[in-house]
């Protein structure tokens, strides 16, 4: 997420242009497809107009089968949300749907219910495929499907990276009805699991579709789309949607209906948003101040890089705050564990990269702090969408440094409003300065140790087990070895194989240590 592709940049700009002028957007239609999308959306909202006005709709009114209505009741979903009201009937008609709704508005239900409805009418294995950009989101959607389908014996299967490949293979072989997957691992299985194919898939869902259709998943998505049958329904859902027609075309929608609950990039009304303009060197102090001020709430703090999450977490821990990092370079089990600890309220502060910015439904998040400003303004929408979910209230504070002004202005533009300043007494904040500086120093040392012992390196892209408290010798060795490889011609490590590794690794590690001292 941290890297910005050119394409994305370009898209960012165009979308902002489009947004700045609502009318212009409609006319801006470059393609027939685009036209269709907008036309349909108009008609669909017309259809919905009448019942909406009179009384709150029930699940049944949407045309869902009784078993599903019951399941909804059991989950205490009282009435359909806006997006559900609009998207479900269209989906039940058997049309492709593009769903746009603000964060926390029940998008998952909006695609899960029609799929389950269709599945009930026509039971079949390998019925639907849901693609999501992040692993955590995949698990969350999987839970929702399980919850909704528990009464009707739905079998779901979550296929994400970082987990045991064979166990997933076995699950897939059991022919689940619904597969929830991140693209990379799914492709892995398509290529390696004998006898597994997606020929029977009837429904394809892309959750956080703009992200999925993004460059990051290009290769994987192409492979998946190639093996999916053409006869299928496709749903795209997101809070922010790409306007790039090319991208949408890749999803090969057929006469899609665009269901838009709010056509502006809106955040929920219950969300209080602030910004805080401070010099970059006082970021940590202000963060600690905010945490102190709002103590007792649970926080999600977003940083731009994996390293930053770890550093910040260490710093906060040095100050005695229960912070836990979550980022893409942790092993999947640790990621889940971190998330679960936060969900279970064992830890009140979750510090994460944008890996947790989308879709995660943790109801009790009270405050979102944008410690580093999001590089994509749309990510802002997703980040602050972690709080104030499902009618609750929440706060979002964005820390803006002198270097972030331009990015921040883009966000304001996207939101279409100016945010109030977060008020705080400077004296009070500066009183913390000393203690924070102390904590920063300890954190820095600890971080260095971690980096040393694990060969943990920031923007490596390698899957490294990161900053957590367990000591694993093997990790140390391989880490040291890997780290040294590009540097020295001594890298005979490869040929030495497993046996020579202990010695070679240790020797190199020492060498590395020495270097660090200099």
């Amino acid at each position: 997420m941290s890297e910005t592709s050119e394409d994305e940049q370009a898209q960012l700009q165009t979308s902002e242009e489009e947004l700045s002028d609502e009318e212009g957007q409609e006319e801006n239609a470059e393609d027939v497809d685009e036209d269709n999308v907008d036309d349909q959306s108009a008609t669909s909202s017309d259809e919905e107009e009448t019942p909406k006005a009179e009384q709150p709709l029930t699940w049944k009114d949407l045309g869902l089968s009784e078993t599903l209505c019951k399941a909804c009741d059991e989950l205490k979903w009282k009435a359909p949300s806006k997006i559900q009201k609009e998207a479900i009937p269209v989906a039940l008609q058997g049309k492709d749907v593009i769903g746009l709704a603000e964060t926390g508005s029940g998008k998952t239900g909006a695609f899960a219910l029609p799929i389950l409805h269709a599945l009930l009418e026509n039971p079949q294995r390998y019925f639907a495929l849901v693609l999501t950009p992040t692993r955590e989101l995949a698990f969350q959607i999987g839970e929702q499907f399980e919850a909704l389908g528990s009464g009707i014996g739905i079998k779901c299967c979550v296929i994400v990276g970082g987990m045991d490949m064979v166990a997933q293979g076995l699950q897939l072989a059991k022919k689940p009805h619904i597969i929830i997957a991140t693209p990379g691992r799914l492709v892995d299985h398509l290529e390696n699991l004998k006898g597994f194919n997606l020929k029977a898939i009837k429904y394809l869902v892309m959750d956080e579709a703009d992200r999925i259709l993004n460059m990051d998943f290009e290769v994987e998505l192409d492979k998946i789309l190639k093996v999916l049958p053409r006869e299928r329904r496709t749903f795209l859902f997101s809070a922010t949607m790409t306007k790039k027609v090319k991208k949408l075309q890749r999803a090969s929608l057929k006469d899609p209906v665009k269901v838009e609950v709010s056509n502006k990039y809106q955040t929920v009304d219950q969300l209080q948003q602030y910004y805080l303009f401070i010099p970059v060197k006082y970021k940590d102090v202000y963060l600690v101040h905010i945490l102190n001020e709002l103590a007792g709430n649970s926080f999600m703090i977003f940083c731009s890089t994996c390293n930053n999450t770890v550093k910040t977490a260490l710093m906060l821990r040095a100050l005695g705050l229960a912070a836990i990092p979550l980022h893409g370079q942790m092993s999947q089990n640790k990621r889940l564990a971190a998330l679960n600890k936060f969900k279970a309220k064992n830890r009140s502060i979750l510090i994460s990269t944008d890996v947790a910015s989308r879709g995660l439904d943790i109801p009790h998040v009270d405050v979102v702090v944008n410690f580093d400003i999001p590089t994509h303004s749309k990510d802002y929408i997703h980040r602050v969408g972690r709080t104030a979910r499902a009618g609750r209230s929440g706060q979002a504070i964005t820390i803006v440094s002198q270097y972030d002004i331009e990015l921040y202005q883009r966000i304001e533009q996207l939101l279409g409003k100016q945010l109030p300043l977060y008020k705080c007494e400077e004296d009070e904040v500066m009183a913390l300065q000393e203690r924070v500086a102390e904590a920063q120093r300890t954190a820095k040392l600890e971080f260095k140790d971690l980096e040393d012992s694990k060969g943990y390196k920031g923007g490596r892209g390698n899957k490294r087990t990161a900053a957590s408290d367990n000591q694993d010798d093997s990790e140390q060795f391989t880490g040291a070895r890997k780290r040294m490889k590009p540097m020295g011609g001594r890298g005979g490590g490869k040929g030495a194989g497993g046996r020579g590794l202990g010695r070679g690794g240790a020797a190199k590690k020492n060498w590395g240590r020495g270097k660090n001292k200099n």
């Binding site: 045991d164 490949m165 064979v166 166990a167 293979g169 076995l170 699950q171 897939l172 072989a173 059991k174 022919k175 390696n192 699991l193 004998k194 006898g195 597994f196 194919n197 020929k199 029977a200 497993g498």
Partner: protein, 657 residues
């Protein structure tokens, strides 16, 4: 119901008709026969199919078969398996069932057959089925003399034709149990019935393999019929659940044997079952790499002296190639059987626990092949006690684990239970040993989870090995009080060191052989002896030949009052220790015949007339209440329970006149 029944009888009659024709024509080539059989079977299946096709109705099917049986109490139908191959494997256990099996709530019934004697059937009570086959076991299985009888038992015709008739009553009874896919614990294997037993389990294993293969071939054809357009790759075909017929890995049966010699015999029996010897021909059976196999697995390892011969049972046990590190993959193909096949491509693995453990520990190789074992046969289990029991347990703990690599089999054809990781409930275990031991019981109770239940032979031991004692002597059994199994080792040691040893040294006991079954105890005692500076000599399985002779010599000539002697040393060498005046069993021996064996070493001939001890002789056995099983091997069941639970702490047996 009526119709089904009729069809069944029709089928029987056609089979027997064909059979007679075939014997007249002399047997056609194996291939034809197989094809013929497959045809026949598929006809039969399709005849029975119209109403019952789906796997999840197998329960229904079973009920019907049972009803058919109830209607008609004819002899041959008694042979019909209660739960045939396909029904067994197609049955889906629900998660409720699995909790039931694990909680070991079973329905226990007892029965008695002429040859294997009394046995106990434990069947887990499953919610999803009606209580299975009541009282069916009370009836003695009838004699089998013809191949048609075996076919009714669901034995493949190609096999049934090759079986050496008549089968003995023991064989039929074991086959009956095996064929119903029940676990079997048979603790009465002797050197006399060893080959009979081997014959039966080979027959069962090969039969199981052939049935599996036939099913897969049949399904292959069905799947080929599902291809919608030419050149469609097979893995793209949507295969219905009813055609799930494979495990994650190919290997279906695992036979654990102690020595190469036993593997040799086993393979030879399999060969004879598949490829009957033509008259007048002495050619080797058409088995790939058979010569290499004979080379590797035959020969004699141990030389038996002609003068001073070793006991008969020793020669029986250790004849042939006694190497205990071997593994042999066997693959069955259409016409032939190949040996030394690649592990991942074998149907049966014959291995020693040691070799298998080494394979499991091999880092370069995965042990995924142990995932889908459907039939586990453990023969001569008592030898594993002498070899290394730990290895066997280790191997059993690595069965049915989730593979480390994705399987090569088409995942749409992998059986449901393999996918859900419940394959251990579908494994049948046949366990043969020469006597009962707590280790065996533990293994059978804790490592075997066949959902169809298990059969345990529960014959009473009337007299035990004590009746073989020839030396006229008083034998004292002394009980050591132990609170729990875990502390039994310590309690025994403390009692021995605290009470017995001082007594011995006080009374100046000499020529005393201390027999220690467990090597751990042996080491502990040895260290104690060393610490206490007690004069002793020792013989364990690790002692070198020269040292053994020296130790025997010193002991015989009163050089040291104590000889520390480990059970395995006796097992592997059967050294004749002379000059024993006092014999102390630290624990009852694991091998019951060693009891009489050792006491008989005290006969007058073996004594040193110059030791000046004349007739002062004693035998003492220390036991705790946890040794009941090994005690009953020695003194019989009745006495053993008296010894274990009686009010007195010591008991005296005497055969003095």
């Amino acid at each position: 119901m009526e119709q089904l029944h009729k069809r069944a009888t029709q089928y029987q009659s056609t089979v027997s008709g064909e059979e007679s024709k075939m014997t007249v024509n002399q047997l056609p080539s194996v291939k034809d026969e197989n094809e013929f059989y497959e045809q026949l079977v598929s006809e039969y299946r399709s005849a029975a199919a119209p109403t019952i096709t789906e796997s999840n109705r197998s329960v229904l099917l079973r009920k019907k078969v049972k009803d058919v049986k109830n209607q008609e109490e004819r002899d041959p139908t008694d042979l019909k398996p209660y739960n045939s191959f396909s029904e067994r494997l197609n049955f889906d256990l629900t998660s409720d069932d699995i909790t039931e099996i694990i909680s070991k709530i079973t329905k226990v019934s007892k029965a008695k057959w002429s040859s294997i004697g009394k046995f106990q059937i434990e069947v887990p009570i499953l919610k999803s089925t009606t209580s299975p086959h009541d009282n069916d076991y009370n009836k003695q299985p009838p004699e089998t003399v013809k191949s048609t009888d075996l076919q009714i038992m669901d034995v493949k015709m190609s096999l049934a034709a090759n079986v050496a008739y008549p089968l003995s009553a023991l064989q039929i009874e074991i086959l009956q149990i095996a064929n119903n896919y029940l676990d079997l614990y048979y603790p009465q294997r002797t050197h006399a019935n060893a080959e009979e037993i081997r014959y039966v389990y080979c027959l069962h294993a090969v039969n199981h393999m052939l049935k599996t293969r036939a099913l897969i071939l049949r399904n292959n054809e069905k799947i080929a019929g599902l291809v919608k357009y030419p050149n469609q790759p097979l893995c793209d075909v949507a295969i219905p659940d009813s055609l799930r017929d494979q495990g994650l890995k190919r290997m279906k049966a695992l036979i654990l044997l102690p020595f190469r010699e036993s593997a040799l015999k086993t393979v030879q029996i399999m060969a004879s079952l598949l490829f009957p010897k033509q008259k007048g021909q002495n050619a080797t059976p058409p088995i790939a790499k058979y010569d290499r196999f004979l080379n590797d697995f035959s020969g004699n390892t141990i030389y038996f002296p002609k003068t001073n011969p070793k006991p008969f049972d020793y020669e029986q046990t250790f004849s042939g190639n006694t190497d205990d590190n071997f593994k042999l993959g066997i693959r069955f193909t259409k016409k032939s059987m190949s040996l030394y096949t690649d592990i991942s491509g074998s149907d049966i693995l014959i291995a020693s626990p040691l070799a298998l453990r080494m394979m499991i520990n091999d880092k370069d190789q995965d042990y995924d092949f142990l995932n889908s074992i459907e039939l586990l046969i453990i023969d001569q289990a008592e030898l594993f006690i002498a070899q290394n029991w730990e290895n066997l347990l280790y191997v059993l703990d690595h069965l049915h684990l989730q593979p480390q690599k994705l399987p090569d089999t088409n995942c749409q054809r992998v059986r449901q239970y393999c996918l859900s990781g419940t394959s251990r409930f579908y494994r049948q275990t046949l366990f043969f040993s020469s006597h009962e031991l707590p280790e065996f019981r533990g293994l059978f109770n804790n490592k075997c989870h066949n959902y169809q239940g298990k059969v345990r032979i529960i014959n009473q031991i009337a007299r035990g090995d004590i009746s073989n004692v020839l030396t006229p002597i008083e034998q004292v059994f002394q009980r050591i009080d132990c609170s729990s199994v875990e502390t039994a080792f310590d309690d025994r040691f403390q009692h021995f060191v605290g009470h017995i040893l001082p007594e011995c040294s006080k009374s100046g006991l000499s020529h005393c052989l201390l027999y220690v079954p467990s090597y751990f105890d042996y080491v502990r005692l040895r260290n104690h002896f060393k610490n206490e500076m007690i004069n002793f000599v020792q013989i364990s399985e690790y002692t070198k030949k020269e040292k053994i002779s020296r130790a025997r010599d010193i002991f015989f000539h009163s050089g040291a009052p104590f000889l520390l002697y480990s059970e395995r040393a006796h097992f592997f060498r059967r050294t004749r220790i002379k000059g024993i005046r006092h014999l102390i069993f630290y624990q009852p021996p694991n091998f019951p015949n060693f009891y009489s064996d050792l006491i008989n070493l005290m006969l007058e001939v073996n004594q040193n007339p110059r030791d000046g001890l004349q007739d002062v002789m004693s035998v003492k056995v220390f036991y705790s209440k946890f040794d009941t099983l090994s005690l009953s091997n020695i003194v019989g069941n009745e006495n053993a329970s008296k010894l274990a639970l009686g009010t007195n702490d010591s008991y005296l047996f005497s055969n003095k006149k």
